[in-house]
């Protein structure tokens, strides 16, 4: 009676198929009830995210037939033809345990090492737990999985650093300023790129966003979306005296910021540190300004290079993570409390054990 997993993910199925199989959060308790009442599982958890739909189950029946049943359950839920069930992967122990450990650690994610999936699995487990669809066996496996995810996060680099340009810019800001909560951001240009970058800073607690654009109406529109304020474009250098971060992504064909201009701004701002992120192509900021004291300039290539380095380091950590997962899975599977005679004893009513 091992742990079983059946499902599909971003590697095995395109989005058209994944969206058909997905479970709405509100529908999970009912689906779990159907699974258990249909005799397919004694305990079950359904994880449904944008990248995966997986059923983790514990069944008293033989593993192969149980897996077939779980595949069919998914196929029925997706409303697809019977051959679809063959596209659903299914594993028994030890692969199922190792797979769960990989999923919660972000090793099986589209973006290697991402942490969002841990929260999603925790939520799915919590729903199953609250509706009493898990017992001591799945509880133990999932608690161990969360513990493994924590170990991997603290002992390896798999989740260290950011792998997107916007997040790298925010990481850099956190290495310059004491607290991002006290930082204000000036955005030059009101395009999509500016908006994404500004949102990345706001999501990590930036205090204020000021938008300057050649068309004031566009600046006002973006500022209202971001909860900030707009200023006329010719006033950006006045605003730059007060802000901590300057994001630039205008379509200007010449440098908007040069060394002489920035030097006078820095003098007026008493050389407080200034992070400048130039995500425009062609560049808006003269690269020579990075020689000025307390000016930290990064263009889109710099940010991408850091993001690539972070991703490379994550890949290099894969082997270390896999070793931890194999060891922790082996330790769990070797736990004598999981032996059949122990589980039978646990299932017996208390009075029959006397």
């Amino acid at each position: 009676m091992p742990l079983l997993v059946a499902g599909l993910n971003h590697r095995t199925a395109p989005i058209e198929m994944r969206e058909r199989f997905a479970f709405a959060e509100a529908a999970l308790p009912e689906a779990l009830t159907r699974l258990r009442s249909g005799g397919l599982a004694e305990e079950a958890v359904i994880v449904s995210t944008c990248n995966r739909v997986e059923i983790y189950a514990w069944s008293a029946a033989e593993a192969a037939s149980s897996l077939d049943g779980l595949r069919q359950f998914l196929a029925d839920h997706g409303g697809g033809p019977s051959w679809v069930s063959q596209e659903v992967y299914g594993w028994s122990e030890p692969q199922s345990v190792e797979h769960l450990f990989r999923v919660v650690s972000g090793l099986d994610s589209m973006v290697l090492g991402e942490t969002e999936v841990l929260g999603q699995v925790k939520k799915a487990y919590d729903i199953a737990l609250r509706h009493r669809h898990t017992g001591w066996r799945l509880n133990k496996v999932f608690q161990r999985a969360f513990n493994v995810a924590k170990q991997i996060r603290t002992e390896t680099f798999i989740q260290r650093g950011s792998v997107s340009v916007g997040s790298v810019a925010v990481d850099l800001a956190e290495k310059i300023f004491d607290a991002l909560g006290g930082c204000s951001v000036l955005v030059l240009g009101a395009g999509d790129t500016s908006e994404k970058a500004a949102r990345a800073f706001l999501s990590r607690g930036a205090r204020e966003v000021v938008v300057a654009n050649r068309t004031l109406a566009r600046a006002e529109l973006l500022a209202s979306e971001l909860g900030g304020r707009a200023v006329p474009f010719d006033r950006w250098s006045e605003v730059a005296e007060a802000v901590d971060i300057l994001l630039s992504s205008t379509a200007a064909s010449e440098y908007l910021v040069n060394t002489a201009g920035l030097e006078s701004i820095m003098k007026r701002r008493q050389y407080r540190p200034l992070l400048m992120v130039d995500i425009a192509v062609p560049r808006n900021i003269d690269p020579a300004v990075s020689y000025l004291e307390n000016v930290y300039l990064y263009n889109v290539d710099d940010l991408q290079a850091i993001a690539d380095d972070c991703m490379q380091r994550r890949r290099e950590e894969l082997h270390h993570c896999e070793t931890i997962i194999r060891d922790r899975a082996a330790a769990l599977l070797a736990d004598p409390r999981r032996h059949p005679w122990v589980s039978q004893a646990r299932q017996q009513p208390l009075d029959s054990r006397v």
Partner: protein, 292 residues
């Protein structure tokens, strides 16, 4: 080990207990050895780019502080007063202050790497303090009562604060360099943000300057009250005033003239390097601080 003891004890002019496993100098030697271990570990931390959470330096320096404290207590009980009477004791006091402040700051995870930057300074200066010539009776040994001890202790605490400010400054320069060179380590390392380091340098300088001002004022008052003959051109008095002026200048530039970031960090490192390199020399030249 026997050879080391023999070397350290060969000067018969020493008035304080010789180095052995139970003397205060013995405990101090153990503390310095642990500072040495922490320095070796710091080298590997530096090579790895301060990427992993740091506990080893903190634990090593906590152990060292234990031995260091015992050494100072033993010396203090032997003399029945604050052990700040000669160069050895003065240096031991400064190093103790640096380690103690670090252990408090190190309670914040990101400041733990201060230990990696401080260890080589603690080790190098600690080895220097163990030279037997530095542990001779001070000129004012018999006069060092009450306020004189407070005067010396306050000034040495000030140097401790300046020492740690220079360590934080070195940390700032390391992190700033990574950021300017756009290295991935700037994002991945666990050093504090440079903004926080600048704040730390500034505050430690202010604390050190306040202690130095009070300590020097007390020293001037003592000389006047005790009626001892002295010259205002005494090397130590001139040097102390120079150090006070240097740190005053650094603070004025920082607070009044936007002398920020790299400049204040470099200033803190250079000023403390000056103190380290000239402290012992001016002490030996001074009629009121040097040996008789």
């Amino acid at each position: 080990m026997t050879e080391i003891y023999r070397l350290l004890n060969r000067h018969s002019s020493l008035i304080y207990p010789r180095v052995n496993v139970v003397s205060d100098r013995g405990y101090f030697a153990v503390a310095v050895a642990i500072y040495g271990l922490a320095s070796i570990y710091a080298f590997f931390l530096w090579r790895r780019g301060f990427l992993r959470e740091e506990r080893v330096s903190y634990v090593l320096l906590a152990c060292a502080l234990g031995f260091h404290t015992v050494a100072m207590l033993k010396r203090g009980f032997t003399l029945s007063r604050c052990p700040v009477n000669n160069l050895y004791e003065a240096i031991a006091f400064v190093l103790w202050t640096i380690t103690a402040i670090y252990l408090v700051l190190g309670l914040w995870r990101r400041f733990r790497f201060l230990g990696a930057f401080a260890s080589p300074v603690l080790f190098g200066v600690g080895v220097f303090a163990l030279f037997p010539e530095l542990d001779q009776r001070g000129a004012d040994a018999d006069l060092a009562r009450g306020w004189s001890s407070v005067h010396a202790a306050l000034i040495l605490l000030a140097y401790g604060a300046f020492g740690l400010a220079s360590v934080a400054g070195a940390m700032y320069l390391t992190q700033e360099r990574e950021l300017k060179l756009r290295k991935v380590r700037a994002v991945l390392n666990l050093l504090p943000p440079i903004g926080r380091l600048e704040l730390t340098v500034g505050r430690l300088l202010m604390i050190g300057f306040a202690l130095l001002t009070v300590g020097l004022s007390l020293g001037a008052y003592n000389l006047h009250a005790e009626g001892r003959p002295y010259s205002v051109w005494d090397a130590k008095i001139l040097w102390s005033v120079l150090v006070w002026v240097i740190y005053l200048g650094l603070l004025v530039m920082h607070l009044r003239f936007a002398h920020r970031g790299r400049r204040i960090a470099l200033g803190a490192v250079a000023s403390f390097a000056f103190v380290l390199l000239t402290f012992w020399g001016t002490n030996l030249l001074s009629a009121i601080h040097g040996p008789p």
